[in-house]
Subunit: 229 residues, 2 copies
């Protein structure tokens, strides 16, 4: 069972603490603001009200053995930097600190943060990617040369089998799976959808309207097939 | 070629604008702060200094035909809500608005935002996921029952071929690809690494120390193989 400490329960910090806790992890939540500590106490293993820039107080919080500590303090740069330093001095093996700007991030890395997170900037990048490729629901950059993506099946492929389409030979991409929405009517006549996944589809599997497929291949081949209408 | 408008060039907004622009999209960047407009002018197709709560000014900005408009204003709730409403009234087909809290998000949705983004909260969730599964470099929730993930190859699998391991039969998961770091020495004797990807590996492919594989399967089977040491 993994144990984490989250210092600074702002919107980012509280979200980290809650998500970890929901997945069954042990979370020690720390903040100088009693109200935030009280909220965290609802789900955290322990919730402590203390000023984390006080090395004594933080050392007595019993967090030396956590697998990782997350510093969710952005605006207060002095605190974010000081607390990150103290955590490394206490001996915490992995410290992840939030930063608002690259300069703050550089300082945090120099004093030992294993990882710096820029929530606003990173979400901006993520949103831009999903706006550029809206037919792409999920996307993994497998390496600098390969990509794995989930896309809408082009209109031209509908009603054909994978064997007929010869996608592997024609585009050089692997079809890892086909995702299909199955319409179901319950006994009250209400219509709903469930999703069916055909993993490692064969040449006889056909594609129908509304299908999405998960493709794997070299970037240039993925780009080629994305252009098919 | 897609066209976007970004209103509010805070850290989130500027990041969206920059990422879109880097990928070759047309971006109209808008802010009431001249300094931010000047920065955006470095890369945006057009950068306009105006108060976006002024319906006339915004209507004359020439953004009616954008594919989507992004409102990157969080703290100033009144502006964020008013601008989102004006954008829908101008007829912009897709409006994505940033929100700091669920209440603000609910209001934005009620007035027509197609999508609401919570950068701090969503990054918190994403960080928590990567902390819980650190050997998992990328993860796609393929559906409510299937997952696609990239994991370190367990020590016990090293030195064996996929045929011997019978992973498909034993765990019911598909090995979509093997990722391997190849050590290379250049002519100056300096050592570097490049990544090799074996797509749709065969039974004769072996696994070596340091390999990662990309697996696809039902959630419960993925959970089972994750526990293998
Ligand atoms: N020295 C400190 N000790 C403990 N908690 C602190 C300390 N300094 C700041 N905090 C707490 O950290 C939290 C976040 O701080 P801050 O507002 O600086 O960050 P933020 O980056 O704006 O947060 P958000 O994630 O909401 O955007 C606040 O709840 C604050 O009480
Ligand atoms: N009425 C308006 N018209 C145009 N721009 C505006 C208006 N109101 C705010 N802005 C701009 O939006 C930007 C972001 O505003 P704000 O600080 O409220 O958001 P934020 O959520 O804190 O931003 P960040 O993404 O940096 O966290 C600022 O650059 C500000 O000048």
């Amino acid at each position: 069972m993994k144990q984490f400490a989250v210092i600074g329960l702002g919107r980012f910090g509280i979200s980290v603490a809650q998500s970890l806790s929901e997945k069954g992890m042990q979370v020690i939540a720390i903040d100088k603001d009693g109200g935030k500590v009280k909220d965290a106490a609802e789900f955290a293993t322990r919730a402590l009200e203390l000023d984390a820039t006080d090395k004594n107080d933080l050392s007595n919080a019993g967090i030396e053995n956590v697998d990782a500590a997350i510093v969710g303090i952005g605006k207060d740069i002095a605190s974010s930097v000081l607390i990150t330093l103290i955590l490394k001095e206490i001996g915490i093996k992995e410290v992840i600190s939030k930063a608002l700007d690259p300069l703050q991030g550089k300082i945090l890395q120099k004093i030992g943060a294993e990882r710096v997170v820029y929530p606003e900037k990173e979400m901006g990048i993520k949103l831009a990617e999903s706006l550029i490729s809206p037919g792409i629901f999920e996307y993994i950059k497998l390496s600098s040369s390969h990509t794995l993506i989930e896309v809408d099946v082009p209109k031209n492929f509908e009603g054909k089998t994978l064997g007929n389409l010869g996608i592997n030979t024609k585009y050089g991409v692997q079809i890892v799976a086909i995702k299909r929405k199955i319409m179901q009517t319950d006994k009250t006549g209400k219509v709903g959808f469930s999703e069916k996944i055909i993993v490692a589809p064969s040449a006889d599997d056909g594609l129908i309207n509304g299908d999405r497929f998960v493709l794997l291949g070299e970037n240039k081949n993925i780009e080629k097939i994305k252009k098919v209408k």
